[in-house]
Symmetry: C2
Subunit: 590 residues, 2 copies
């Protein structure tokens, strides 16, 4: 028994064991096909994102080997494809740019340190049970961030697409600069870039339809629509080779890529450099985790399975540590490749193993051809893969549901664009917390009445309910805490002032989940203030946890009224306790 | 009619008009007595706090003239005495110390600018309707801050009490320094300081009892117990004069104070200085407002009257602007003097006018005597007035009610002591918001059952309730928003997984006051995920405001179950919808 328990416990940390144990024959063919397709898509993306990150092409390909395989072992998702992704590449590029300038290390070294730090931070989040912290990145913040990242990435590809020199700065400055320097556009890159964009776009949007028209039996969304990038690479490399374009016109190409597999790399330790990278790594780790987890959950929901958030932290951490030791750069779950993997029918992570083999073959056999791969084709691949990430309609939708979320999203986007990823994300998180605190500090206090003769009480504003003049029944629609205690007190006192003749106030606490010291002191104060006005304060529907808090004080002893179990019980008793005549001040009650 | 309306509106901004309109003859005597007593207490306090702030004695006295009178005109409290206070003086001292060093302006100039900025910030808070922001300073934060301020003030008086040179730094460093330099203690200041402390302490604690034993008819808490400071000043000045102590032993005294009333002073404008003071002014303004408002509310509650928080912002703003133009420094409501004012029977702010007249007389007639007032006596007055502010028992009380509040209070106190007032207050506010977000991001999800045959549903854990196997009834005890949407989803899915055979999930939303986009997306996801598990999702007791948010989406159309008005209605219908036999997967239901 004890042994079995241990086996079970051990297996939960290595999900691949269970996958292989349950592996059925029919899975293999599907995993093979999906793996091959994803592998073919991976190669151009990996190189393009490596360029985006400011790193040599091979680092992108290396990121599809060890990190991807580690995830297949430890990951709890059956469809997530981990490897180089555009958004992380953008963040790596920004960090590398600053760090090489200040510390003089080569970009590849810094990428290794970043990967290691990201991996360790993810593990630390798991160990300290703080994974929940990433929930602070709300959907609007992530949405705004992704929009901004997509815009930044598109701008970063303009030099590749046009042959113009690259220009740093925020997108507005860049746009102005590019527009005023249109003469710097070279004809060859721009022709090739536009052609590449057209081919990929055609494959994505029209290829399947065309093939169906031609009688080929294909479902819509067939993985063949993703063939564009690899076709573009093949065609453009052929053109460069045939026309000797890189020699005759100086067209930028990938150039020399070392043949063979990555060797062991050990990230350098330099305390000052590590310290200065830590902030970026923390943000990067959070983005890696949030993005990967939300993609994985999406597929899990479709498959009626579930993602283990703790296991994901372990798996993504291990993948990134693997990236650090095998010459890659920070990796995350890729939305586009995971979608292709899922659509192509992958059943298990074995498909990712197949994709890795494709990359291995490319590294062993095809690297000499990379000397002919032109930069505009890679830039086109990046641009079209991030255009799909842009989502501005979501902002309008958010506006109708919860205005603050739309504002948060737009401000996060603008801050990321103008002040950078870290400032932008922190601003977004700060803003969403501020909005949350603000709205909970403007509490609703609802006067209730009885629905007919039922036991139910509802708002007097929205329903036709019965009330009695001497007993007010009021519900507080918020946790009572420091940011709203004063307002709740004021609103309750106003409610009583507006109803002369009130002798009982019943506070319905069904929506109060917590109360803090400021809130409790307010209740004491309210009790005293109402007592002076000749009004007795009672409570109803106090939750057990709140009751424990009240019991830690002597509120129940000093309370002028009682604590009732239900609103109905309370109001029944208070309704019966009507004063014999209207209260008159100053006159003796003979 | 229109005219009357205007008059009414105009009068609400100048509460003194109403006070004078309702003034009764009997009030005058009480206001006169209270005003005289407060005036006598004010004089030594005003000078002592001016020294604490690093300013000449007369600025403290000037702060009891124009600022105090302005508050009597605009303030909505009948008992609050506005003027120099210890905590504000401490903050002013810290700011002045930094600013004189950097900008070379004399302390008095900087005090004027601080006063003007504090006044303008208070007015700005009123204009922008942002007065509610100060609620972010929760009781535990204020408590921790006051404790720390009291400790800092006591340490700042050690040089005055002992004749040792003053030492800056945090209290630990100071304590270490003073203890290792005990030889620097002078006999005369320390004898005089201890004697002063003893006299004030005796008056505070034992004078009334002794007088009663001697047959004098006095109530406990009679204002005569506050006579200590003025007695100490008189006696010690007499001793200095008689023994020529300031000449023979170099005893520090107040020295020269210009005779007569303050003249118009115009704060200097220097953009860099103003900019660098702005942060301190903002914090100071918040402290001034929070302290004054809470003192005023305390008395208002006892008197069954109410404080208008908007009017307080106007009045305190005007007082501080008055301070800026009449040679004073930032003022606030004084707890000790307001208490004496109230206990001495003051009925209206006219008592403060009387107190001001006392100060005027002192300024016109008694300033030559100040050359004999010794520093140890003033230090003793400061120490005993802030010792009463220390409250460590509150921390233990908070611990039992709401642990996070106790932690916030202690950390605020320590941060103020070590890193200064501004860092400390910001840390405290940040911490209380963080704790609030953290606790709301760990939502309770309570499984409910029917109480007997009633219409009421309660937790299955705490009560003996009836449940049905196929319909789960679950209450979410928190607003559904970005920080907890994932956890709520997980907990609900787990709850369903734990109950095989569930075909209905009724979500009771009585404690959900708000929902944001992340929360709504979670509901869509949950609906889909449950659908795949063969579980229908229904909602009950959705508040009207939340319903409006749901209506902005198509949730109601895609929801697999229904939206019920009450839990009882919902469960009645779902209980009846029991499956004929236990669901079996894979077998046809013939």
């Amino acid at each position: 028994m004890r042994f079995e328990y241990r086996v079970k416990k051990w297996r939960t940390y290595i999900p691949i064991v269970e996958v292989l144990g349950d592996y059925r024959r029919g899975y293999l063919q599907r995993d093979l096909v999906a793996g091959l397709i994803v592998g073919l898509i991976t190669v151009p993306q990996a190189m393009a994102y490596a360029f985006l990150a400011g790193l040599p092409a091979q680092t992108g390909l290396y990121a599809c080997l060890v990190p991807m395989l580690i995830y297949t072992i430890f990951g709890s998702s059956r469809h997530l494809v981990v490897g180089p992704v555009a958004v992380a590449a953008l963040m790596v590029a920004a960090t590398i740019g600053q760090a090489t300038e200040r510390f003089g290390y080569p970009p590849t070294e810094i990428a290794l340190i970043l990967s290691l730090q990201v991996g360790l931070i993810l593990w630390l989040l798991r160990l300290s049970q703080m994974g929940g912290l990433v929930n602070l990145l709300s959907h609007p913040v992530i949405g705004g961030f992704i929009n901004a990242a997509a815009i930044l990435i598109i701008f970063s590809q303009i030099p590749g697409l046009t042959g113009m020199p690259s220009k740093s700065g925020n997108p507005l400055d860049q746009a102005a600069w590019y527009l005023t320097h249109l003469t710097a556009v070279h004809w060859l890159p721009i022709v090739m870039g536009i052609a590449s964009l057209a081919v990929i776009w055609f494959c994505q949007k029209h290829l399947v339809r065309q093939l169906r028209r031609m009688g080929v039996r294909l479902g819509f969304g067939h993985p063949i629509s993703r063939i564009g990038p690899i076709a573009v690479l093949a065609l453009s490399a052929l053109a460069v080779w045939a026309g000797d374009l890189h020699v005759r016109f100086g067209l930028e190409t990938v150039g020399y890529v070392p043949q063979g597999l990555p060797t062991l790399t050990v990230p350098k330790f330099d305390l000052r450099l590590w310290g200065s990278l830590l902030g970026s790594s923390a943000i990067l780790a959070v983005v890696v985790y949030v993005e990967s987890y939300s993609i994985a959950s999406g597929f899990a929901t479709r498959e009626q399975s579930r993602i283990n958030s703790h296991q994901e932290l372990i798996a993504l951490g291990a993948s990134n540590i693997g990236a650090a030791f095998f010459g890659a750069y920070p990796v995350a779950g890729s939305f586009s490749r995971s979608s292709v993997n899922y659509d192509a029918g992958a059943r298990t992570p074995i498909s990712s193993v197949v994709s890795s083999l494709v990359v291995v073959l490319v590294l062993l056999l095809l690297t000499p051809l990379f000397a002919y791969l032109p930069a505009p084709a890679l830039a086109a691949i990046v641009v079209l893969s991030v255009v799909n990430l842009l989502d501005f309609r979501g902002i309008g939708r958010h506006w109708r549901i919860y205005r603050e979320d739309a504002i948060t999203s737009v401000i996060t986007m603008l801050t990321v664009l103008i002040a950078g990823v870290e400032t932008g994300l922190l601003t977004g998180v700060g803003l969403s917390i501020a909005f949350f605190v603000r709205s909970s500090s403007r509490p609703e206090v609802t006067v209730l009445g009885r629905m007919g003769t039922s036991e139910h009480f509802r708002s007097v504003r929205r329903y036709d309910v019965r009330t009695v003049p001497h007993a007010a029944c009021v519900r507080v629609d918020e946790n009572i805490y420091f940011a709203n205690a004063n307002q709740i007190e004021n609103k309750l006192l106003k409610a009583v002032h507006r109803r002369p003749g009130t002798s009982h106030l019943l506070l319905v606490c069904s929506a109060v989940n917590r109360i803090d010291v400021s809130g409790l002191e307010m209740l004491f104060r309210l009790n005293r203030a109402l007592d002076r006005l000749g009004v007795k304060l009672s409570l109803a529907e106090v939750k057990a946890s709140v009751m424990e808090q009240l019991d830690a004080t002597n509120l129940k002893t000093v309370l002028t009224g009682k604590v009732y179990f239900t609103t109905d019980q309370g109001m029944r008793e208070l309704e019966a306790d009507a004063p014999d005549r209207p209260q008159q001040e100053g006159l003796p009650l003979i």
